[in-house]
């Protein structure tokens, strides 16, 4: 599928260089205030958008942006790495500005409950949403299934992030249970694709 694309590979690299150019302009804008700053920001984002638009025409609607994002990210990281600044190990930082994670009281049952919410309950609620879309949404059956299926990991991950962060466990429990009951109920009530 791919090595063939010797020409496509070079087109991809060319487009990635455009994204690198965009990142260079953005870094120059980031480095300090100057009258040119708005133009540098505009030019930087402009080159990034141009690379994406060109990729659609040159490499395909789905493949082009995927190629540009993969190669562009790599080159941008190389640019960031090239600007590495070495700290003086003996000189202590002026002050610590990083925020600390919130300290919670360590209570075993809350930990277990949080784990159950983030794992099984968020998973069931996400499966319910995916199932409801697959069964109840309009459109071709395969599309509903794939879109519903893709929603499951995304919603599960979102539910996980929320329940592990929210200090109000009962709120998360109520919302996730409610979503699971409604979506699974709707899916099983309709019950056919």
């Amino acid at each position: 599928m791919s090595g063939l694309l010797a020409l496509d590979a070079w087109i991809g690299l060319g487009l990635a260089l455009l994204t690198l150019g965009g990142a260079v302009l953005l870094r120059r804008a980031w480095a300090g205030a100057s009258p040119r700053r708005p133009w540098l920001i505009l030019g930087g984002w402009g080159l990034l958008v141009l690379a994406l638009v060109l990729s659609v025409f040159l490499l395909g609607v789905a493949r082009g942006p995927a190629v540009v994002l993969a190669l562009g990210s790599t080159l941008a990281l190389a640019l960031v790495a090239s600007g590495v600044e070495f700290r003086n190990a003996r000189k202590k930082a002026a002050r610590e500005l990083a925020l600390e994670p919130s300290e919670r009281r360590r209570i075993a049952w809350r930990g277990w409950l949080r784990g159950i919410l983030a794992g099984p309950l968020a998973g069931i609620a996400a499966l319910g949403c995916g199932l409801a879309v697959a069964i109840c949404a309009p459109g071709a059956v395969q599309s509903r299934m794939v879109i519903g299926g893709l929603m499951v990991p995304f919603l599960w991950a979102g539910g996980m992030a929320w329940t592990l962060s929210d200090d109000k466990i009962l709120r998360a429990t109520a919302v996730l249970t409610g979503v699971a009951v409604v979506t699974l109920g709707a899916a099983f009530l309709k019950g056919a694709l």
Partner: protein, 493 residues
């Protein structure tokens, strides 16, 4: 994600409440720690798995290396392979592609016996394909060498955890634009790791989102389809999968002349002259219900290729719809190439390797930040510091040892990998973190450097495939980079 020391100026983004960020950081930290080892293992193995097709060529470098195969050659290798096992339940004939220039036929039967034969340009079988290390590393990434349902679920759940970490990580990084290009090294260990963690996380975000979402979807397919089947097909998952397998050819076990692949390919060529065939999957050969699923790729598409179903009489029954069907079918077809980086030639593969290793180091640095934070607060966890660094460097070591062993010993690479992982992790009892890192890196560099001459010696004079040389060069380069990294701490000291 952690912060940095750059003095805070006027925010250019709506200010995120500190309490929200602190809560997100707590969740991010808890989840990252709970899944750290699994995420690390899945990310590292995934980075290596990007080059699965190339490892096949490295393990079978003698070829024959073919640019194309005639329909007659495809039919001949099919028949010759079938003659080796007339009870074969299905035969998978893979045609030469630029990325995998081999003509092969893979058979499996009801007893589970599997063999793969390699053919020359005429389709005559010239040998059997043996690629144990390639299979080992692919299976480690996809199912962790566990039973398919369990392994897939655990890998899928790891993908969900990674996706969740990305979400909470982004939400807990209010200085994302302010720090976009800040990359500082040295000084405080925690701040150094935080800069590394945050820069790779942010700039690699599109890649991280894509691989974690597609990985979670691919891993959880069994569960998703299972629940869907429960709700709609009374638990019959085959009916759910049938929606994605295209036209059906009814089972009929009565004997029939073996399907003619020359005619099958002629039928496809007549109907779709632009299609570039990559493989044929023949089910139930020699039965009336026999049929071939032929995969054909349209250049320029992000897809695994369209599948055309052709029956025993060489009649085209229709297509699955991976390239010509509805949105869902096209999206499904894009998942695997998108996940593994098999869609844009060698630059994208190299980018996926580097970004994958970047994600692996993000996982590693996430735990390092947590450990450094504990140390800064006067609550160091020296045992965990040792265990984590030993586990991190156990994987390059175990992979290198398993690759070397696969070349010279008749043992399953997975056993070598497992024992090497356990042995390397156990060194946490003996050495301090710095010594662990140094010695495991040195051992890995030595093993990789040794693998190359062993590979060349074993295949001396038969290294027909240039990719085998490229992989050897890559291994050598990795060994040199690892060896070079050993000198840094001494210079700094």
């Amino acid at each position: 994600m952690d912060g940095s020391t750059k003095p805070a100026g006027k925010p250019i983004w709506p200010k995120v409440p500190a309490e929200f960020v602190r809560a997100m950081l707590a969740g991010h930290s808890a989840l990252g720690l709970a899944f750290a080892a699994l995420i690390y293992l899945v990310c590292f193995s995934g980075s290596i798995a990007v080059f699965t097709q190339e490892y096949t060529r490295w393990e079978q470098p003698a070829g024959p290396v073919l640019q194309a195969a005639t329909p007659q050659a495809a039919d001949r290798v099919f028949r010759e392979a079938l003659a080796h096992n007339p009870k074969a339940r299905d035969v998978f004939v893979q045609l030469p592609e630029p990325v995998r220039p081999r003509l092969t036929a893979h058979l499996d039967d009801a007893t589970g016996a599997e063999r793969t034969f390699v053919a020359d340009a005429s389709g005559a079988i010239v040998g059997e394909m043996k690629t144990p290390w390639t299979e080992f590393q692919a299976e480690l990434h996809t199912v962790l060498h566990l039973p398919r349902a369990w392994g897939g679920f655990i890998v899928g759940l790891t993908g969900v955890a990674l996706l969740s970490s990305l979400i909470s990580g982004v939400l807990s990084h209010p200085r994302v634009f302010k720090d976009a290009f800040a990359f500082r090294w040295g000084g405080s260990k925690r701040l150094q790791e935080a800069d590394l963690h945050n820069r790779i996380s942010v700039w690699g975000l599109p890649f991280h989102l894509v691989v974690s979402l597609t990985g979670a979807f691919l891993g959880l397919t069994v569960i998703i389809v299972g629940v869907l089947a429960l709700a709609t097909f009374k638990g019959d998952t085959t009916k759910a999968y049938a929606l994605f397998t295209g036209p059906k050819v009814a089972d009929d076990a009565r004997p029939a002349p073996i399907i003619d692949l020359t005619q099958v390919l002629a039928t496809l060529r007549a109907a779709h002259p632009e299609a570039r065939t990559t493989y044929l999957f023949v089910e139930h050969p020699g039965e009336r219900g026999q049929h071939a699923s032929v995969s054909a790729l349209t250049p320029g598409r992000l897809s695994r290729g369209e599948i055309y179903v052709i029956d025993g009489e060489a009649k085209l029954r229709g297509a699955v719809g991976y390239e010509t069907g509805n949105l869902g079918q096209k999206v499904l077809s894009a998942m695997t190439p998108l996940h593994f980086g098999w869609f844009g030639g060698w630059p994208v593969k190299i980018a996926y390797l580097l970004l994958g290793l970047g994600l692996t180091s993000v996982t590693s640095s996430g735990v390092a930040i947590w450990l450094a934070r504990r140390r800064d607060k006067g609550r160091p966890a020296p045992r965990w510091e040792r265990v984590w660094i030993a586990f991190v460097w156990s994987q390059p070591f175990a992979y290198a040892l398993s690759a070397l062993a696969a070349l010279i010993l008749p043992v399953a690479p997975v056993m070598v990998w497992l024992l090497a992982t356990l042995a390397a992790s156990a060194t946490a009892i003996l050495w301090a973190p710095a010594a662990l890192s140094l010695r495991l890196r040195a051992a890995t560099a030595g093993l990789l450097a040794l693998t190359v001459p062993v590979h060349v010696a074993l295949n001396g004079g038969r290294l027909a495939d240039p990719v085998a040389w490229i992989i050897d060069a890559g291994l050598l380069l990795t060994a040199v980079l690892l060896a070079a990294s050993l000198w840094k701490p001494r210079q700094a000291a």
